[in-house]
């Protein structure tokens, strides 16, 4: 589940009010730049490891987490809210008598974490009584004392608030000057300071940074009562404030002049384009439903990859552990063994926790496994799934894939989607080359509406911008487009992917899974890709 309604759900956009408790406490902006002394974290971790072992645990891992977030929320000329939050505490997971136990505390004392470790061990022993088979943990080597940091250039938390407010209000003013009736824009900055220690002999200190700068530009035709929005074409990234530098070399201009962005975003330029395109949407003709060849920009394709490949290949879903909420999967263990034809030979999809700039990039996952890149679909055939330490043996693997994550020190870590991306085509092909070969198609930019069933077969996607393609040429902007797919048929209809020079990432800050629900962040890369004969519906309705 990719969540879109985070701001509405938390009320953050309303200004003031009480923070949702998972964000922790509100702090002053200067505190966002501080870090905890690694020696303090090690002392807490050792206290927990020792207490768990003394209580009879055969395995223990400790996560001392400090989660910092900053939100700057604006509309037109107003700053609606500025919120800085910190959530600090320790989560301890153990295996005792073959079962998992977990406890967490926000008290940063040796006594409190030792007590939580003992409690986690007692819970594990209680859980063992109803357990049918003991937990089997794939081995992972202890790595000693190591550190990893997102390779940022500018720490966003250190940029003065005034600069951030000036940036957003400047963006809003530019959009309004270009014809927007309303603009909502925000900055959402994250720094996860995570310290992991385990009885395997690892002490891993990680400093993870993420940035997101979404906006919504609205155009209104008062006389007809019609309104249209255009969302920003940025992506949430695993980067620092340098993402907002707007470097020209990271711009990707499509044959009809639509500007997309790679590892650098020009928010003001995009706001001006958004205002013009939102106005154009008010006058754009409605799509004629039918079968079309779709040419999908990476700013759109990420969400289709997320829903129709990333989720169905999660091993816990395949096995049935998520049946009551997120759902199961049409993929089975047999389909992996049989090398199921998931897509056409043009489709190779990789999981990658190393990719620079991506949301999922870390040195080690939340159970101390060194991260890696691995094949999920190779030349159209399904070759692997996503698994963590206690699942690896189910797939006959000797090691975890390193994709375990918890959204807080107080949440239990579990299997989460790594970055899952479509590999670029191996032969040279530009977007213009690809469009040149399409007789009757639609070019889609940006992500829009999205929905998929609980086994990940039937999905429907919208977008931000739609352009007709007739006889190899891009034509007018059209509206009311959504396409419906059956997952394997869609990926088998992929007839080409542009080369690596067009490769970009999109992603989500709010991928939801589990009960109680946890959110995760994940990126999905691709180059522009073509899918033939896809069913397009018209979404215009009349309320009379």
């Amino acid at each position: 589940m990719h969540r879109r309604d985070f701001l509405a759900a938390t009320g953050l956009a309303m200004g003031g009010g009480v923070l949702p408790s998972f964000l922790g406490r509100a702090i002053a902006a200067e505190e966002l730049q501080s870090t905890l002394d690694v020696a303090v974290k090690k002392r807490l971790a050792d206290a927990a490891l020792n207490a768990a072992k003394s209580a009879g645990a055969t395995y223990c891992d400790v996560r001392v987490g400090r989660y910092m977030r900053q939100f700057v929320i604006t509309r037109e000329a107003n700053v609606q809210n500025v919120v800085n939050t910190e959530s600090l505490g320790t989560g301890i997971r153990v295996i005792a008598d073959g079962a998992w136990g977990f406890a967490a505390t926000n008290e940063m004392t040796v006594e409190a974490v030792a007590k939580a470790a003992s409690l986690a061990t007692a819970i594990a022993k209680a859980n063992a009584k109803t357990q049918t088979a003991p937990v089997r943990l794939a081995p992972t080597p202890g790595v000693g004392e190591v550190a990893w940091k997102t390779p940022i250039v500018k720490n966003a938390m250190a940029v003065p608030l005034k600069d951030k407010v000036d940036l957003l209000l400047g963006v809003n003013a530019a959009a309004q000057a270009a014809g927007a009736n309303y603009v909502n824009s925000m900055l959402f900055l994250v720094n996860e300071q995570k310290y992991f220690a385990s009885t395997d002999g690892s002490y891993i200190d990680q400093d993870v940074h993420r940035i997101w700068a979404p906006m919504t530009v609205t155009a209104i035709d008062k006389a007809s009562g019609k309104f249209r929005t255009r969302e920003g074409l940025s992506a949430p990234m695993g980067m620092g404030f340098e993402y907002l530098d707007g470097n020209t070399k990271d711009k990707f201009v499509s044959p009809n002049g639509v500007v997309n962005y790679g590892l650098s975003y020009d928010m003001k330029e995009d706001a001006i384009a958004a205002a013009k395109q939102a106005q154009a949407k008010l006058k754009a003709p409605s799509v004629k439903p039918g079968k079309y060849d779709l040419v999908l920009d990476p700013s759109h394709t990420w969400l289709t990859i997320h829903e129709s490949v990333g989720h169905p290949l999660e091993l816990d879903r395949v096995l049935g552990y998520e049946a009551n909420y997120a759902g199961t999967s049409f993929v089975t263990l047999d389909k992996v063994k049989q090398r199921f034809q998931y897509g056409s030979p043009a489709v190779s999809i990789v999981a990658d926790k190393l990719q620079p700039g991506s949301l999922g990039a870390v040195g080690y996952d939340d159970e101390g496994v060194k991260t890696k890149k691995w094949d999920l679909i190779r030349d159209g055939k399904l070759v692997d799934l996503e698994a963590i330490r206690d699942q690896a043996q189910i797939l006959g693997k000797s090691a975890s894939d390193g994709c375990c994550y918890a959204d807080s020190w107080s949440s239990v870590q579990f299997q989460r989607m790594p970055n899952v991306s479509l590999e670029p085509g191996k032969t040279k092909q530009s977007v213009a080359d690809m469009i040149g070969g399409v007789e009757n198609g639609i070019y889609i930019v940006g992500d829009g509406s999205f929905s998929i069933d609980q086994q990940r077969y039937n999905a429907q996607f919208g977008g931000q911008l739609f352009y007709e393609i007739k006889n190899g040429k891009l034509g007018q902007q059209i509206e009311d487009v959504a396409y419906q797919i059956r997952t394997p048929e869609f990926w088998n209809a992929c007839v080409g992917v542009c080369d690596a020079s067009d490769y970009r990432m999109g992603g989500s800050f709010f991928d939801g899974k589990g009960q109680p629900a946890q959110v995760s962040t994940v990126s999905h890369g691709s180059s522009t890709a073509r899918f033939n004969g896809i069913n397009v519906i018209n979404t215009a309705r009349s309320l009379g």
Binding site: A8, A26, V79, N181, G225, F227, S451, N458
Partner: protein, 444 residues
């Protein structure tokens, strides 16, 4: 101390408000104890208890606002949280839409707390899970479910002498039951305030019956059909629509409730005349807190009367700007209906489709509130008043606004909560004409 008494909360909040040197100060103390158990593949997978108490302090200097929170309550901590809020307020840009804290109010308490729910033990949760599992195992079915229960309190005070305190409780149970071969799936959801009203044995029978009965589903061509939406299936669509009842968005011309040429649709016929929807914090089956997030007192508020828009949701800022009275945001959604159960509606149906549950509902077009989503865990064909056979799931593209103009009959409202919303609703099962299914799904 997760749950404070009223006297304890009042004493603490009075101290906090007195500590502030700002132009105004509002302090809110909240606490909760939540328990849960999760099960899947006929085994308990996780269980836990989380207790939490938080104090939030919001202060203002002129139009500059700062908020800080803390979860320790000694004198030094209270002093620190107030000073931190004041520091943040001094640094904050002016908010031109700032509205001062509410004046002293008189709230009428509502019955949102049941001791039986607060008394739930880990043993109770384990029993609900193991009883659900045992009932399914006996029929060669596979259960996956989640039980979440909790008690909480909220208390607040401000520098204008306003104060409120109330306790709440709630229990939410969902269970998905699948056949061993994965060809059938059923579901049940139950939301209650009073745990005594929860009978898991009855609920699990419903889910198991639907799982066994949905094997060998047949495919029906997508198109427009008469449907019966069970209240839980209607909740996803109707709850979604109420995200768009804001007066400001309507007045700004960016809502389905905006009027051509400007203004909003208050007083206009938007739904079938049989549609009556209101909010009422004192509703006996779905009570809500007697105040909203800003501290405005809630009372019974008609939202839709005889299909016409009776009121929109005005923020305090927008009410002031538009010269309208500020009313509290609704705490629940109560839709009136008839007296018939879902089974009664099925008996009165010539040809139609029964929908147990709707899933992954997202906005397609805000202009018309066109939503897309899927049916799930029990979709059946009805002929001559009887369930004839299970159907493959459908994707729908439908607007709740259009849907509530195509009413055939409304049944007796029951308490429900949506998959992705915490709002408690009373919704009737509803038989609707011309509900739009646009494709088939192979998902079970």
């Amino acid at each position: 101390m997760a749950i404070f008494t009223e006297a304890e909360a009042r004493a603490l909040l009075t101290r906090v408000v007195a500590l502030s040197k700002a132009d105004e100060c509002t302090a809110e103390l909240t606490g909760s104890i939540d328990g849960n158990v999760r099960f899947a593949l006929n085994a308990i997978s996780t269980s836990g208890i989380v207790a939490n108490t938080d104090l939030a302090v919001q202060v203002a200097f002129g139009k500059r606002v700062g908020t800080a929170t803390i979860n320790s309550f000694d004198d030094a901590s209270l002093e620190r949280v107030v000073r931190r809020a004041e520091d943040l307020a001094r640094l904050a840009p002016e908010n031109p839409e700032f509205v001062p804290a509410v004046a002293k109010q008189a709230y009428t308490p509502t019955n949102t707390f049941s001791q039986s729910t607060a008394d739930i033990t880990p043993d109770y949760r384990a029993r609900v899970a193991s009883d659900s599992i045992a009932a399914c195992k006996a029929q060669k079915l596979v259960a996956a479910g989640f039980l979440q229960d909790g008690q909480s309190f909220v208390a607040f005070a401000n520098s204008k002498g306003n104060f409120g305190y109330q306790r709440s409780s709630g229990l939410d149970y969902t269970c998905t039951v699948r056949s061993e071969d994965g060809r059938g799936s059923g579901w049940v959801g139950r939301n209650v305030q009073d745990a005594n009203a929860f009978v898991p044995a009855t609920d699990i029978r419903t889910a198991a019956r639907k799982a066994a009965g949905s094997v060998d589903a047949r495919a029906l061509e997508p198109g427009k059909y008469t449907v019966i939406l069970e209240p839980a299936a209607a909740a996803g669509l109707i709850g979604f629509m109420f995200n768009f009842f804001g007066a400001r968005e309507a007045d700004e011309g960016r809502s389905f409730l905006s009027k051509k040429g400007g203004g909003n649709k208050v007083g206009e016929q938007v739904f079938d005349p049989r549609v009556n929807i209101y909010a009422d914090p004192a509703h006996p089956e779905a009570p809500a807190l007697p105040w909203d997030g800003d501290g405005l007192p809630r009372s019974r508020l008609q939202i839709v009367r005889d299909g016409k828009i009776a009121s929109l949701d005005y923020s305090r800022y927008w009410a002031q700007k538009q010269g309208k009275p500020a009313t509290a945001s609704p705490g629940n959604i109560i839709m009136a209906g008839g007296t018939k159960s879902t089974a009664d509606l099925v008996r009165g149906t010539q040809k139609g489709i029964l929908v147990t549950r709707t899933w992954y509902i997202r906005m397609v077009d805000p202009q018309t509130v066109l939503l897309t989503g899927l049916t799930r865990d029990g979709t059946f064909y009805i002929e001559n008043g009887e369930i004839k056979y299970p159907l493959k799931n459908f994707r729908f593209n439908e607007s709740p606004v259009i849907m509530l103009n195509n009413i055939d009959e409304l049944g007796k409202p029951v308490r429900v909560k949506g998959d992705e919303s915490d709002t408690i609703m009373m919704l009737p099962p509803m038989r609707l004409r011309d509900f739009t299914f646009t494709s088939l799904s192979d998902a079970v």
